[in-house]
């Protein structure tokens, strides 16, 4: 990556460029940056990862949300120099080479996006939630996404998408299955219940 700055001449000593090392989506990077560079710019212009969007640029919209050391933060409101030695995950870090991440699949299945501008931020905020709380209620999801703005969807399908992902990622739990779970899930539960009662009878 190359960042190009004005040559400050004699003043350059006053505002030294800093060399930082960080990990982004599992890859180790080094960069020489001005301390005033924002993390969103390091990611977009430095690393060329334009999945992280810049929306309001005033800490309101959440389109620039990424994970820093596992916590979802607004990358327009953090100095790039502060990620020295830290680990960043962007939306590009979700999918593997051949498979979408369950959160991405959820947005596809539940129509969680229209124009798609807020989507990377929504997904990263959702990732932050599901890493902390793998079994969220609808209220938990709405609360966790309350720092992200969407102007198209009315949020309903975004919330459904995240709940879909949570369901997909969770190890199957007999007792906590929703009655409205997919027909497959329901019959699976019934057969497991049948197995259990059969086992009881035998014992």
């Amino acid at each position: 990556m190359t960042m190009v700055y004005d040559d400050l001449g004699d003043e350059a000593e006053e505002f030294p460029v800093r060399r930082i090392k960080f990990t982004i989506n599992g890859r180790k990077k080094v960069a020489e940056i001005e301390p005033r560079l924002l993390l969103a710019d390091l990611i977009r212009r430095g690393a060329g990862l334009t999945g992280t969007h810049r929306g309001c640029d005033t800490t309101n919209c959440g389109a620039c949300t990424v994970l820093v050391d596992g916590r979802a933060i607004k990358s327009c409101t953090m100095l790039a120099v502060q990620v020295d030695g830290r680990e960043i995950t962007t939306v590009e870090g979700l999918a593997s080479a051949s498979e979408l991440h369950p959160i991405q699949e959820g947005f596809k299945q539940e129509h969680g996006l229209q124009c798609g501008f807020c989507t990377p931020g929504m997904m990263m905020a959702a990732k932050g939630l599901l890493d902390r709380n793998p079994n969220p209620t609808e209220e938990d999801v709405r609360w966790a996404l309350s720092g992200n703005l969407c102007r198209c969807t009315g949020y309903q399908n975004i919330v459904k998408s995240v709940l879909w992902a949570a369901e997909k990622m969770a190890p199957p739990k007999l007792s906590e299955r929703e009655p409205e779970a997919s027909a497959g899930g329901e019959s699976e539960r019934e057969s497991k219940l049948a197995e259990t009662s059969a086992g009881n009878t035998e014992a």
Partner: protein, 295 residues
């Protein structure tokens, strides 16, 4: 948008940080969570020449109860740490109610309680909470540490008594003498907006008698307002409908709201009355606060 140029250091100890501030002169700023400072620098409302970043200083990201019952919150304890804290849930109802209402979830992952106090925005939630609880700020400078009560800490909008080479290293809530109750209610137009009105109430009771009360108001004046008369009206007797009504009226009378796009002065004063009596009446739960912010 990007900030104007500045020099940046991220020291690994408090002594080093204080030394840098001492040599850095008047226009150095301490960076903790940066959720107010960075936006202000981007908008060029603030253009510090020198940033001293605390984030590499180890041992500041704590909140813990001391054996004497006081609660200590380190300079790098994030709002989210407090929001998801089991420690707060049982013992600090006012703080537990306020933590999920600060800014939005992403800002809470980064911003800090101590930083919020130092920013001294009249619309900051934590200043009201800490004022109601009788909290103090511990500042460390070249000459050592000093404890500054919240009542003396803020001198005006965005102004505190901190010297240029002092760092607020922790906030302290004193031990409860009785059983703690209380809450925090806030009206905001949407998540992350500044408070239209916020009210913090902290009560300690022994039996049915209130032995200590603190009430403080967010966003209805040039700085956080301590409603000391309202609190005094509650102490030394049980909570009754009459004492609650009196305290709510006294709290509303010290509010100095201004009419703006968030509501009229009259409306805001009315909300102070309603929130105060609602918290004292015990109807304020976290769920109540949620409903309020959605309203």
């Amino acid at each position: 948008m990007f900030p104007s140029r500045f020099r940046y250091e991220a020291p690994h100890s408090l002594d080093e940080a204080i030394g840098l501030l001492h040599d850095g002169g008047d226009y150095a700023k301490v960076l903790a969570g940066g959720q107010s400072l960075v936006p202000m620098m981007k908008l060029r409302f603030a253009s510090p020449e020198f940033i001293v970043d605390l984030n590499n200083v180890p041992g500041l990201a704590y909140h813990r109860a001391d054996p004497d019952g006081s609660l200590r919150i380190g300079a790098l304890c994030r709002h989210a740490d407090l929001e998801f804290s089991d420690l707060l849930k049982g013992t600090q109802p006012t703080m537990a109610a306020a933590a999920p209402l600060v800014a939005d979830p992403l800002v809470r992952n980064r911003g800090t309680l101590v930083g919020s106090l130092c920013h001294a925005d009249p619309q900051g939630d934590w200043a009201s909470v800490m004022l109601a609880l009788g909290g103090t700020v511990i500042a460390q400078g070249p000459g050592g540490r000093r404890a500054i009560p919240l009542t003396e800490f803020v001198t005006g909008p965005f102004e505190t008594v901190l010297e240029h080479d002092e760092i607020a290293v922790e906030a302290v809530v004193p031990p409860a003498r009785g059983v703690r109750s209380g809450g925090y209610l806030k009206l905001e137009r949407r998540v992350g907006d500044f408070a239209t009105v916020g009210v913090a109430v902290a009560i300690e009771t022994s039996g049915s008698t209130v032995i200590r009360a603190g009430i403080a108001l967010t966003g209805v004046g040039g700085s956080t307002i301590g409603a000391t008369d309202a609190a005094a009206a509650l102490t030394g007797k049980p909570l009754t409908a009459d004492s609650i009504a009196e305290a709510a009226e006294l709290a509303a009378s010290v509010a100095r709201p201004k009419t703006d796009h968030r509501g009229s002065a009259e409306y805001k004063r009315h909300l102070v009355r309603v929130f105060t009596s609602r918290i004292l009446g015990g109807t304020a739960t976290t769920t109540g606060a949620t409903a309020e912010r959605a309203a």
